[in-house]
């Protein structure tokens, strides 16, 4: 070893961010995305609202996954779940930043003099009724089986959406989607492997994964329900109609159920009211109360 490693404070002055194991993409989320013009033929308010929907799904699920940190069944799962949570958090940040550039009016108001950036205004200064995530992402995990079954559903659905959004007319959303596809393919694979492992592992694990699927499955239908905003943005060529990916998602899930020797659950009616309209369970209210507690206690704070 050379003596350069003897100065632990070197890191305080040096600019070599490659030293961090899992990347450092924490600064200006839109910095790498060039063209930020809003495409023609799409209502900016709709497009911003659409970006917020996709962002809210990612932020809320990221938060639920981050709750596993230091609580996972093994160290490898601690690392993997944190990785997925970080990916989704990154997607949420890009999408909030995009919503703010499309429609500055959509950025929630913050207290006078607050230095809070737009992404944090969306995350920390909206109440549950203003969140537009699907219900599936907000529920609490009862156990690890819940976590992987839910992740399988969300990742399969989101991957199908993002694959199409890559070809959408908004250059920023298309770029976000291109990045997200690589991440979500891993998330889906990770979750699918665990569902099969649990289904074919022990009697106990099979019982648990079946129970988890029963609990989670009632939120499946909402993923395929098209909100008017999604419909208009999809028609304008800037977004994806979730109904259009529904069959593909079912086909992917069926492969996993088959590999795990699990029966194919029947489709359920779309629940109402729905998260895309701001209707949520208490689980989201509680989640936000915790998530927003420090930011709201110091509305003029700098972090």
């Amino acid at each position: 070893m050379t003596d350069t490693t003897d100065n632990p404070y070197e890191g305080l002055y040096g600019g070599d961010a490659s030293h961090w194991a899992f990347g450092t993409g924490f600064e200006d989320p839109l910095a790498t995305l060039g063209d930020t013009r809003v495409p023609e033929g799409v209502d900016p308010r709709d497009l911003a609202a659409y970006a917020v929907m996709l962002a809210d799904d990612a932020l809320v699920l990221s938060h639920r996954l981050s709750e596993w940190c230091s609580n996972a069944p093994d160290l490898e799962e601690d690392v993997a779940l944190a990785n997925v949570a970080l990916d989704l958090l990154g997607q949420a940040r890009l999408l909030y930043a995009r919503a703010a550039t499309i429609d500055p009016e959509s950025v929630p108001g913050v207290p006078d003099g607050s230095p809070v950036p737009a992404e944090d205004a969306y995350a920390f200064f909206r109440d549950a009724g203003e969140f537009r995530n699907v219900g599936l992402v907000e529920r609490c995990d009862e156990d690890f089986a819940d976590a992987v079954v839910r992740l399988l559903l969300v990742a399969s659905w989101r991957l199908a959406v993002m694959e199409r959004l890559r070809a959408g007319s908004d250059p920023v959303l298309a770029a976000v989607a291109a990045k997200a596809v690589k991440e979500l393919a891993y998330h889906r694979d990770y979750a699918g492997r665990w569902v099969v492992t649990l289904a074919r592992g022990t009697e106990e694990s099979r019982r648990r994964v079946q129970a988890a699927r029963e609990r989670v499955w009632r939120w499946r239908a909402e993923l395929g329900a098209t909100h008017p905003v999604e419909e208009r943005v999809a028609q304008a060529g800037a977004g994806v109609d979730p109904a259009a990916v529904d069959d593909e998602v079912d086909a992917v899930l069926r492969q996993v159920w088959d590999a795990g020797d699990l029966d194919v659950p029947p489709r359920e009616a779309v629940p109402a009211p729905r998260g895309r309209d701001g209707h949520h369970t208490d689980a989201l209210t509680d989640l936000l109360e915790e998530m927003q507690s420090v930011a709201r206690a110091h509305p003029l704070g700098r972090w």
Binding site: Y9, A21, S66, P73, V79, A85, L89, G201, T202, S293
Partner: protein, 313 residues
Amino acid sequence: MTATAQETELLADFEQTLARHDRIEPRDWMPERYRKTLVRQIAQHAHSEIIGMQPEGAWITRAPSLRRKAILLAKVQDEAGHGLYLYSACETLGVSRQQLTELLLAGKQKYSSIFNYPTPSYADVGTIGWLVDGAAICNQVPLCRTSYGPYGRAMIRICKEESFHQRQGYELLMTMMGGTDEQRAMVQESVDRFWWPSLMMFGPPDAQSPNTAQSMAWGIKRDTNDELRQKFVDMTVPQADALGVTLPDPALAWNEERGHYDFGEPDWDELTAVISGDGPCNAQRMAHRRRAHDDGAWVREAATAYAAGGGDR
């Protein structure tokens, strides 16, 4: 050749390797006490990484900005990764991660005393980065040159990552100091709480550290506790000045003659109490780890059964 003669020859080889500052590798012969000392030290370090996920991890769900949430989550994830490298290094000495985890949960192996202190404020996330990771780096940088190969190589990577964590922590405190009066007060209050426990991270004074001499002779340890503590103080005081916080030690003063800072004596009774289980959060940290371990047992069993051939159902 008799067993004893053979052992004498092996010991001579081992000592020559150390004298050349070469590494001892897993397949090399090593004295049993050397192996045991390494297992104890590496395991303690690995456990510290894992238990150390808790005090900061508790703030992930409350991080006050999305950028801070990402930084904190990535940092705690790195700690899990460090635990993995270190348990792997320990496995090269013939002890499995499962055995080590059981020893931790049974209270037979320790982790760093610092993680038995509470983290009641978000400023603690920054202070842990600056002071706790800073002290850890001072302890760990010399270990990059430790005599046991797998440990030294794990430490090189860990030190690089730790120095990044430290920079992030310091940057959080710096940002908060540029915020509101309330935030500045949070930073000062947090530094006041963590200063003395950080000094204790280097262990008892040299005169009361029975293992130091042997560990240095074996090239496991490269500096004494007091030398490292002094180094940490000397590095940290200018950092505190730049940050605009005071360190809670009236005896802290530059000593021109020594070329070092003089500083007060930590409360060693407190260190003894925390190490022997009576710190503010010992019970909570262990209960958390035990619960996570127990809750995950069925998942690990399922993975084992599945890997063994499609499961046992």
